[in-house]
Amino acid sequence: MEPSDQDLARAAQRGDREAVETLFARHWPAACRTARLLTGDTASAEDVAQDALVRAFGHLHRFDASRPFTPWLRRIVINTALNHRRRGARLVALDNRLTAAQPDQPTDVLRAVERLSEDRRVVVLLRFGLELTPAEIAEALGVPVGTANSRLARAMADLRTELEVPR
């Protein structure tokens, strides 16, 4: 049976390199995907993911191994990506995502998502890009579940108006 993330985190806290490598291999793809989604910048997403994982593993001694590892790491990746996006005023997130869009991906929807306020855009990205539940979104953003739900509802209302989608 494969060791759980928590077992691996405990081993990594004791300095087990193989445990670090296994944890890294498990979570690197998701971290990249999260960073790509939230920054919208394909070129620097892997750098953001690396920064986030370095930060997380650099503070592994503070991780409470009795708690789930994935939400803890996801929150660090999300915060790092959002900070990166806030700092990088030059980022051309929309352009990058639009350029990288596949022919069957609706670019008008991407444009509408980019025009949302940050709070609402993030919940939409986490909900539909990463398929997180409202409870997981709330945990990742450090807000009550009700707040995550209301942000999502308002974001969807904004998008329906913008895209002229009937309710």
């Binding site: 370095v54 650099g58 869009a101 991906q105 929807v109 998502v113 989608v165």
Partner: protein, 265 residues
């Protein structure tokens, strides 16, 4: 299709993971985890240190007055030796003598080759030696490295700077980095087909496919901009490092001496 499904389609992400970038990230993450472990140890030691302070003081006093022999130090045996530059089979022999197992990465796996040279290692030289039976990663180059042709392009005329960049670097893909407010280190590196440049205020960032002359020009330009900063910040550490791991039967691995550290007080 309703709005939910439209959003899922629009935000779909099929980009594959870049395996070369994965290696780079793993190296950085492993180092961070090991630092974390040391910090965790320090915290634990600190938390129990107060009750034993008296014992420690007494112990130090005893140590100071007791006669001691001049036994050999064990420090060198606990640190990783420098393997880079060794022939691969020599590196294997050296590691096996330390009870360690080489793991060849990046180029190939298999028995050691007489003609190959070690161009990278993890743990780095001087790092703590793994426990007996532990793994040491080594990067090897199958062909003799053109060390004589590679030098430091910084502060050289354009033509000389270009000579420092292997011709096989033509067509490298360059990734742009975002600006950051506080810059303490600049690293330009070539890993596989990706160049990463940490940002510097006043430097133009780039993205796209570069020619060899483009790489040289940009390395030189980055340095030129940094030179213009002299004295404007208390301390600026600059490191320009060129690491090349190319394929196509030419240079397949390289950790070059292109490394510049500067500081302005």
């Amino acid at each position: 299709m309703n709005l939910d499904d439209t959003l899922r389609t629009a935000l779909r992400d099929d980009d594959p993971v870049d395996p070369q970038r994965l290696d780079l990230a793993l190296e950085a993450v492993t180092k961070a985890a090991m630092r974390s472990r040391r910090r965790g140890r320090v915290r634990r030691v600190t938390s129990v240190s107060l009750p034993v302070t008296g014992v420690a003081v007494a112990g130090i006093g005893l140590w100071a007055i007791l006669p001691r022999g001049s036994g050999p130090t064990t420090a060198p045996k606990t640190l990783m030796p420098e393997l880079r530059g060794l022939r691969e089979d020599d590196a294997w022999a050296r590691l096996r003598a330390l009870g360690l197992f080489p793991q060849v990465v990046s180029v190939r796996r298999g028995p050691p080759a007489a003609g190959a040279t070690v161009v990278g290692q993890q743990p780095a030289p001087g790092d703590r030696l793994p426990a007996p039976g532990g793994r040491v990663r080594i990067n090897v180059a199958e062909v003799p490295l053109p060390r004589d042709n590679l030098g430091d392009p910084v502060r050289r005329p354009m033509s000389a700077g270009m000579a420092c960049i292997p011709a096989s670097c033509d067509g490298l893909r360059v990734a742009a980095w975002p600006r950051r407010a506080a810059i303490r280190r600049v690293t330009a590196s070539i890993e596989g087909r990706v160049i990463v440049l940490r940002p510097v205020r006043g430097t133009d960032y780039w993205q796209g496919t570069l020619s060899r002359s483009g790489i040289a020009a940009r390395l030189l330009a980055a340095r030129g901009t940094l030179d213009g900063w002299g004295g404007s910040r208390p301390t600026i550490a600059v490191e320009v490092r060129l690491r090349i791991h190319l394929a196509d039967g030419r240079v397949r691995g390289y950790s070059s001496p292109v490394q510049v550290r500067s500081g302005w007080g």
